[in-house]
Amino acid sequence: MSVEPTVQPTSIKKRRKTLLGFVPEESIFYNLHPATRLIIFIVSGFAPIWIDLPEINIAIIILLLVLFTVGGVDLSRLKIYLPMMVTAAIFMFGIRFLFPAYESGYIPLQVGPFTVYYQPIFWAFISYWRIFALVFASIFYFSTNRESDTLIALRAFRTPFAATYLMALSLRSAGMFMEDFSIIRQAEQARGLDTGALSLRDRIKLYTMYTVPLFSIAIMRATEVSAALFARGYTISGRPPGKKKRAVYILTLHSFKWLDWFVSIFFILLFVVIVYLQTVHGTFRIEHSPMNHFFYNLVTR
């Protein structure tokens, strides 16, 4: 039987669908065990908290962009994040224009009719890049990992079955929810609802109305899902009869190779080192930033 029951999209054949979008069909990162990829995510996602230096955070972002291309992710998909970056910049810097927050020792700068102070502005600059380093680390993880990879990683870390299963079921339900949601929206339009022309109050009312069909469908589906789980011998604890541990077949398909050990240990050590350097020696503090020195000198001339 070589015929697919659905017509494949003619343009996108090389992607796998996930809840939030797509991941590439093939990627160099798939050579790593999902647990390793999760470790990379946790480290890269948390490390910037200890790093004030904007140079390093910007370098991290550039590195991630490089890894995106290496990993086979379509960079044009990142364009959707540009508006968010611009809005965040406007907000974070704009606040400092409106509320200069003067403290003694701050260098004043005159920008048109606004008096701003150098230190708060530079501090906003640092926070901005720190936040986006975290955001890009997340985007990177979710663009190269499917939901099941995260679940496999959690199982590899011996998370209790009930917890991972609950997560899996929630993700699956969320997916079904989203599919239903788009049909419900179309059904509303077919009844003459012009969402573009609604006032804000009406839009809020609209979202509460979505709950009616979503709940009916969810309740009916819940009975079916529980019947299906019964038929598959499911028990909440996941512990099979008479045995202490449940076999986890899916883990046997991924092996933790020397590369995984190397990368994982590297990242864990890197994280430990960063935290140590910052808390004990203050290596990444703002005083050590070349950019800071440069701009400071510029404004105090």
């Binding site: 796998r16 669908k17 099941s148 589906r221 019964f230 038929a231 996941g238 449940r246 076999a247 077949y249």
Partner: protein, 285 residues
């Protein structure tokens, strides 16, 4: 030995006003393929739920009579025992598929019943072959069609190797190609696996050629059980209960009534073709 024995089973769901089953009786021989037909709300799903044990384990209600599976009462078995002895595939391909990849879905049931990794591996490959889903293993449920999901659901239950497999309207939510794939899987199972198959279907045309027995459920009771050709012989009885035979069978029925034809009723196309050719060639000469 009887795989299934339903004895005078009556069942009323907790909040219902009427009994869904009113003294249903059905005996199913081990290794046979039984099709269950009948109008909607007649009690077909209730009946198969009672055979699998969902009723009374998972639903509250009033029960009279009993169901035995391999000589033991269903009400007295545990849910895990039942999951291993009676598999049940439902009609909605989405609701049954709870994992995030095909592979995980296939092993879920096997892990639940406590198989070892080696046993799982072996049965996985066997079930994948039976359902012809080798190229789907790594895919997420959002990436495959309804028909493909349903085949995965069948494989997932098959992998638990229950001696009895029930399918409740497995094709009703699928497109024609999806339906064909499911009937192909059923044909494979019937020919290659020694198990008892019970299929509830509206699609009489495709299920009749596969069945050893057809049971008609109407108004809460099993009103007729017979081998297919005999089942379709009384067309008046069937049409009063809104069940139509396959079209070629109906044609042959008419030919019999008009005394043009005297042989057995055909259940599928090739039988009908050879009967037609015999009849018409005789005339053309």
């Amino acid at each position: 030995m009887l795989a299934v024995s339903v004895k005078n089973l009556s069942w009323k769901y907790e909040h219902a006003t009427e009994f869904a089953l009113k003294g249903a009786n059905l005996d199913i021989e081990e290794g046979s393929f039984v099709a269950i037909v009948g109008p909607n709300e007649a009690g077909k799903t209730t009946l198969v739920s009672a055979i699998q044990g969902l009723i009374p384990h998972s639903f509250n209600g009033v029960i009279r009579g009993y169901v035995e599976v391999f000589g033991e009462k269903v009400a007295e078995k545990s849910s895990l025992e039942l999951a291993q002895e009676v598999g049940l595939v439902f009609s909605d391909p989405e609701a049954q598929f709870t994992a995030m990849t095909v592979q995980e879905e296939l092993v879920f049931g096997m892990e639940n019943i406590g198989l070892t990794v080696e046993e799982i591996d072996e049965r996985l490959h066997w079930a994948v072959e039976m359902a012809d889903i080798a190229d789907l293993l790594d895919k997420s449920p959002f990436d495959i069609s309804g028909g493909q999901k349903q085949r995965v659901n069948i494989a997932a239950i098959l992998a638990m190797r229950p001696p009895i497999l029930i399918l409740d309207e497995p094709t009703s939510m699928l497109d024609p190609l999806g339906k064909d794939f499911i009937f192909d899987v059923l044909t494979t199972l019937r020919e290659q696996v020694a198990m008892t198959l019970i299929v509830v279907e509206h699609n009489i045309e495709q299920i009749a050629p596969l069945a050893d027995q057809i049971a008609l459920v109407y108004d809460g009771q099993v009103v007729k059980v017979a081998e297919p050709r005999e089942f379709f012989a009384d067309s008046g009885f069937l049409s009063e209960r809104h069940v139509e035979p396959p079209e070629v069978t109906a044609l042959a029925h008419w030919l019999r009534e008009q005394r043009y034809y005297n042989g057995p009723l055909p259940l599928k196309m090739d039988e009908a073709l050879s009967i037609s050719r015999d009849l018409l060639k005789r005339e053309v000469k």
